[in-house]
């Protein structure tokens, strides 16, 4: 049985020739390795073979490696045979050269079959579309909007990347998606949590998958200061959270997403989960009032548990210019592995739209009205959060 163990090691490592096995006449490789008199020869020939790529298996010596694998298990009688002259074999490397052996037509058939396997039977239009897409990207022949939104890139890459996470990892349960208007401007206001703004990304891909509309998030200026992050944010449709941009987007009929809690919400400790923080200065409400678009409250349950924030290093965060430096049970303890979010079960509920078009022109400059509307939105989200938490079986299910 020792022979059977040698075969898999010997063949792939070996020398295109006959495997050195104890067959009676020819000595096994192990035996040849053991034979004292010819010990130097295989080593020398190996070097030569390596340099010249000798195609002749007859001249091919056994590898010293194979000999060293299991030298003691070989039958002793093999060592008496002449190790330098193994039997000639009908199989030659010339005949078995992999590239020369297969005609071009076979290659074409194989490639066609492989393409069909990968892309399905409609592989030609698929490939054609992909090449056309590639050409557009490479030649810069695509359009971005005023905010830097690259729709093609976002839908083809970003959403495709996030979709499995949304469906398989967080298993997002969506309710009230019909509250998102199918056209025209609207402002989606959501709670913010989870140490990293994963909830924003998930909201984007969820809304796009259910309604076909692109959510245009409003991000903090820190986002646009960071390399790569800011660039990707603009390309995926985000812009700076300021009144000018919010009003401009809403008036332009875009679906805008805002997380008014900002860093206060996303960086709050785990012990304060699902407690809404202050909703900024209500700038989002005045922007919606000026544009006369409805406000859709969104409550997200589940994002709080992805990275439970149990600590913070304010001093280091200050040095790095970040609002907080999180410590979670797994980060930085497990290093990069700690950055994998916990697979909590998510629930998203879009509430009834709050209409703002019934107010008169100066309403946006009435601070009391703005405060009241802000509180109304905040209360709606908080109450929905509580009811969603009651419905959830557990954090992970």
């Amino acid at each position: 049985m020792a022979d059977a163990e040698i075969i898999p090691l010997n063949q792939p490592l070996g020398t295109h020739g006959r495997p050195g096995r104890g067959s009676g006449k020819a000595p096994s490789s192990a035996a040849r390795g053991l034979a004292g008199g010819s010990g130097a020869r295989p080593v020398r020939k190996k070097k030569a073979a390596g340099a010249e790529e000798s195609p002749d298996p007859i001249e091919e010596p056994p590898t010293p490696l194979a000999a060293s694998v299991d030298p003691t298990d070989e039958p002793p009688e093999d060592s008496s045979a002449n190790p330098s002259r193994p039997e000639p074999s009908p199989a030659t490397t010339k005949a078995r050269h992999p590239l020369r052996g297969i005609p071009a037509a076979d290659w074409a058939t194989a490639l066609d079959a492989a393409a069909k396997e990968v892309f399905g039977s409609e592989w030609e239009p698929q490939l054609a579309r992909f090449l056309a897409f590639l050409r557009r990207r490479v030649t810069g022949d695509y359009v971005i909007d005023d905010y830097g939104f690259d729709r093609e890139l976002a839908e083809r890459f970003l959403h495709a990347l996030l979709r499995p996470i949304k469906e398989k990892w967080f298993r997002i349960d969506v309710r009230g998606i019909e509250n998102i208007p199918s056209r025209g401007g609207a402002l989606v206001v959501s709670n913010h949590s989870g140490t990293l703004p994963v909830d924003g990304l998930m909201t984007m891909v969820t809304i796009h998958d259910h309604t076909g509309r692109a959510l245009r998030p409003l991000g903090a200026d820190l986002v646009f200061k960071m390399p790569f992050v800011g660039m990707l944010a603009r390309k995926s449709g985000a812009t700076l959270a300021c009144n000018e941009d919010a009003e401009r987007m809403l008036s332009g009929g875009e679906l805008v997403g805002v997380w008014p809690e900002g860093f206060k919400g996303i960086g709050k400790p785990y012990s304060e989960r699902y407690k809404l923080q202050r909703f900024g200065r209500g700038g989002f409400v005045s922007a919606a009032l000026r544009a006369g678009v409805p406000i859709v409250p969104l409550s997200v349950v589940g994002a709080e548990e992805i990275y439970p924030l149990v600590g913070n290093i304010p001093a280091l965060a200050k040095v790095l210019g970040l609002p907080y430096l999180p410590i979670t049970p797994f980060f930085p303890l497990l290093g990069p592995l700690g950055m994998v979010p916990l697979p909590s079960k998510w629930l998203m509920e879009f509430g009834e739209p709050i209409r703002t078009d019934s107010y008169d022109v100066g309403a946006a400059d009435d601070p009391m009205l703005v405060f009241n509307l802000t509180d109304q939105v905040r209360e709606t989200i908080q109450q929905t959060l509580y009811s969603l938490l009651m419905q959830r079986q557990s954090v992970f299910r």
Partner: protein, 356 residues
């Protein structure tokens, strides 16, 4: 004096153009001189213009000098087009000189205009650099917005100062129609601006992790808008830029030029090295522009000023690219190669996909 009184009231306008030694000023002055409604064009600069000046009469004068007031009074100028604001120290010799020319020159010119009762219109070419470029910028600047960070020096500061003086002049002489044109980055086959030189480099350095949004104005559209402003007499401040927006990476691909992303600090160091080698010049404004980009809202240009640029941002870049030899485009050639090796049925599909 008698000669001036004799001139019929319907006589054409007398236009004074500053900064005619440079290409933009010279071309505009030459074109204006050809216009039937214009009687005379007086070009002013400290150095004589090179090239064809047409029917323009050149006066060698320094606008930093009260002499300019005498020119305006003597020639009975009714329209002043101020084009001599320069973006880079370049050949003028240092930042101090540049500031002197820009700010003191404008002050003197405005002082001269204020005392000249004949002046009826002032057109100032400003720039969108006045908005700055930072991570706190809104996506699109409209004319009423201020820069998010006050410029601390350089071109942006000069332009902010100049616009301040122009606003002051407009207050003191309400009878004069003052038009300020904030032009986006100029581009075209003949333009020699720091950004154009940057895009002409065989390999375009970019800031790693940033892809700024850019807007361009074609040089022909600049001439057109200056002429339009002189004719239309619409007071106010207007952003002027071609339609649409391109990112720097997109622009580089359209120019078929490879890019080399450098971290922010290395980009600054490279700027210094290139300046010493006199290849390109990176002012702090250009560096922040190439990091964060900028977009301006041009709706007032269309509605109030009534100007429509002929070239969009992408067309401007394509026109600029037509004069450049591509240094990259390897990926595109690779795709072409793959397409050539496809079976004919797939190639037909590809043509459909490209058309569709």
């Amino acid at each position: 004096m008698a000669e001036r009184a004799d001139r019929p009231a319907a006589a054409g306008r007398v236009v004074l153009v500053t900064g005619v030694s440079r290409d933009v000023g010279r071309r505009f002055a030459r074109a204006a001189a050809e216009h039937p409604a214009v009687e005379r064009v007086i070009g002013v600069d400290v150095v004589p213009p090179r090239g064809d000046i047409g029917r323009m009469s050149f006066v060698r004068a320094d606008i930093r000098n009260p002499v300019i007031a005498k020119v305006i009074a003597k020639e009975d100028v009714d329209t002043v087009v101020h084009l001599s604001v320069i973006a880079t120290p370049g050949s003028t010799g240092g930042r101090t000189m540049m500031k002197e020319l820009n700010v003191i020159g404008t002050m003197q010119l405005l002082a001269a205009c204020q005392t000249a009762p004949s002046v009826r219109q002032l057109v100032v070419k400003s720039t969108t650099t006045v908005y700055g470029a930072s991570n706190q910028d809104p996506a699109m600047f409209s004319e009423s917005m201020e820069p998010r960070r006050t410029p601390y020096g350089g071109y942006a500061k000069d332009v902010a100062d100049i616009e301040g003086y122009v606003r002051g002049f407009a207050r003191r002489r309400p009878d004069v129609c003052v038009t300020t044109l904030r032009c986006a980055n100029l581009l075209g086959p003949r333009v020699a601006s720091p950004l154009a030189e940057h895009l002409r480099l065989p390999v375009i350095p970019t800031v790693l992790g940033f892809d700024p949004r850019l807007q361009f104005l074609h040089e022909r559209d600049l001439h057109a808008v200056l002429g339009h402003a002189v004719r239309a007499r619409v007071p106010g401040t207007f952003n002027v830029a071609g339609d649409g927006i391109l990112t720097l990476s997109q622009a580089a691909r359209r120019l078929q030029r490879p890019t080399v992303p450098l971290p922010g600090f290395a980009f600054g160091a490279l700027g210094g090295a290139l300046r010493r080698a006199r290849v390109a010049e990176y002012s702090p404004e250009l560096r922040s522009f190439l990091t964060f980009g900028r977009g301006v809202d041009t709706s007032r240009m269309r509605t109030e000023l009534g100007f429509e640029p002929r070239y969009s941002t992408a067309e401007t870049l394509d026109d600029f690219a037509s004069t450049l030899a591509p240094t990259g485009g390897r990926a595109e050639r690779l795709i072409t190669e793959i397409e050539r090796h496809l079976p004919t049925s797939a190639q037909q599909q590809l043509e459909e996909a490209l058309r569709g």
